[in-house]
Symmetry: C2
Subunit: 358 residues, 2 copies
């Protein structure tokens, strides 16, 4: 399921409500909302302190990959923007993933996951990346469970937290996702501005907000995550908010940056109407997550703004507009909660990746 053009129209209407007058912070909440510091946990995976601690260990544990070389944090780098700064991720055996790593920061506020919406939940996203032969490369769920079960410190934690279920592929994903839901970056300058601190952002950034709405970037990039609907608001978890990209085919940018080569969601859904449909990516922390787009071919944020204006909105933007919009986008970098490095449970006197370490 998903919302496409219809929803976009609603958003345009909403933006229209505030777009006709000079934008004031007080007018913006219809379009934008401050990022909450805490994301709600789904009912079937409530958070506990113990589960978060376990999930954090798993997130940093390269033994979840076949070769013992790649943890979630290898690509979703929590020391930085929650991704890898690369066009394509490098997984096990030097293999590269097809599409750029998306940030794990604020991922809790999406209704579907991956560029093509091929995962309905954070839990499913984690499972798919663990089994992806180009990413973590585990052959099947059984192998993952076997790897974790062979580490006594994990087995004990799972038994304590999940009881009879103990270690299985579902509980592994549940623990991981619980931790991932804590990875939010509230209090960006923009959030402080939305809450009434007029001095939190520059005059250029304020002009940028107006341009962002006028050029109609905000038609899709709106609400908490600047990525449209959030779970429970306009869409339920598992329902996606997709857009056609490129929306106006045949631009020079399309050729230069190979923007139309990847047909997007259709490969996953096998629905012809999903051709070149993409899940709306968040703009939170966008200034520190270059390079841009699903293929990572665009290296700078100003060029990304030009490309989007032209290919999605058929708009030529002036360099002043680009500069102002980039100033606004730079206010979307939040505060990153300090992470202490977890200690990983040991396999005393032997290695956990024996047989896959050559």
């Amino acid at each position: 399921m998903g919302l496409k053009a219809v929803f976009s129209g609603v958003a345009l209407l909403m933006v229209g409500m505030v777009g006709s007058v000079a934008v004031q912070a007080a007018d913006l909440p219809w379009t934008f909302q401050p990022l909450p510091a805490v994301a709600e946990a789904p009912k079937d995976n409530p958070s506990t302190k113990e589960k978060l601690a376990l999930g954090k260990q798993l997130f940093f544990d390269a033994r979840l990959s076949i070769t013992g070389t790649h943890s979630c944090n290898s690509c979703h780098n929590l020391s930085a923007g929650g991704e890898d700064g690369r066009a394509q991720p490098v997984g096990v055996y030097g293999r590269t993933g097809k599409r750029g790593t998306q940030t794990i920061w604020n991922a809790a506020f999406h209704t579907v996951y991956n560029w093509d919406g091929s995962a309905n939940t954070l839990e499913e996203q984690a499972q798919k990346h663990i089994l992806d032969p180009n990413i973590m490369g585990m052959p099947d769920a059984e192998a993952v469970v076997g790897r974790i079960n062979a580490i006594p410190g994990y087995r004990q934690q799972f038994e304590k937290i999940f009881g009879k279920e103990a270690v299985n592929f579902k509980t592994i994903a549940m623990a991981l996702s619980s931790y991932e839901r804590t990875l939010t970056t509230p209090n960006s300058p923009f959030d402080r501005y939305l809450r009434g601190d007029d001095k939190a952002i520059s005059a250029a950034a304020k002009r940028g907000i107006q341009e962002f709405i006028d050029v109609r970037c905000a038609s899709c990039h709106f609400w908490i995550n600047l990525a449209g609907p959030i779970p429970g608001l306009a869409l339920q978890q598992g329902e996606g908010f997709y857009e056609l990209f490129p929306n106006y085919p045949g631009t020079d940018y399309e050729t230069r940056y190979s923007l139309a080569d990847d047909l997007g969601r259709v490969y996953f859904s096998q629905e012809p109407t999903d051709t070149r449909m993409w899940r709306m990516p968040s703009l939170r922390n966008i200034a520190i997550t270059a390079p841009y787009f699903h293929n990572g071919v665009v290296k700078t944020l100003d060029e990304a703004v030009r490309v989007m204006a032209k290919t999605q909105l058929r708009r030529e933007v002036t360099e002043q507009q680009v500069s102002d919009i980039v100033a606004f986008l730079n206010t979307l970098t939040g505060e990153f909660p300090e992470q202490t490095l977890p200690r990983l449970p040991e396999t005393p006197n032997r290695t956990a990746v024996a047989g896959h370490d050559h």
Copy 2:
């Protein structure tokens, strides 16, 4: 320069001093010393709070590798035993290093670095791994400096800390090494035993200490790091303590585990007498750093003990001896100081690894 058989003889003599009677903690200091919590900084690279903070960022920064995928921590995993749990490290482009990753924990107490003593200091070791085509793959020092200089938050820190020198390949290594010198794991059960806590280790471990001395493991694995001389004590920084391995050639183990295929230090020094000479590895945290030996072919610690007894000391050890020695080795796992994950300086609106991200 280096000590070989001569030094070993001295060590044997020292061990002999306590080896003839039942070992008591009070007798051990001649052979073993508790691990200090703090390692001394060399005079030409004094520690400061700012330098440590910078070094920690660099340690966790994958942008020190050509592809932006490998930080020091990728292989020297500080969530675990300071290495990667693999026989060989996986570097950039899926390439594998020839010899197993050695732990970075307590590395400050070595007089030379790498399996073959091919680096005289921690600083040199860092530089060599950054430029190793199979590890971090940077083409030359200039490229490393260019990469770091292009990150404003780094440039500012280097200018503040190193003044006119600012960012250069030497100051990068100095900052990294300053941080690495803080990575010590004091207060292992064995250290507490050495300090007089008789209950810190089991009866089996106590028997193991005696066996370890009697079988003559301690002839080479002695003092603070159970790796022989430490900087300023018997050897100066840059002077190595090497042993022949296998010492008794032609064992079944040698064939089974390909122990003699790699000729060790001779490849580096080109001195025929360095054939199959190896720098003494530390036994600190050995229980959590499987697999074992330079080629990582031995998967378990008990087998490593059997192999060492036979190939180095021409001793058949009983399963009871193996079990006791392993119990002792398990008391060498220290306390790991909590590490907070550093925030890495950004390159706003662009990627730092452009051109190397495909």
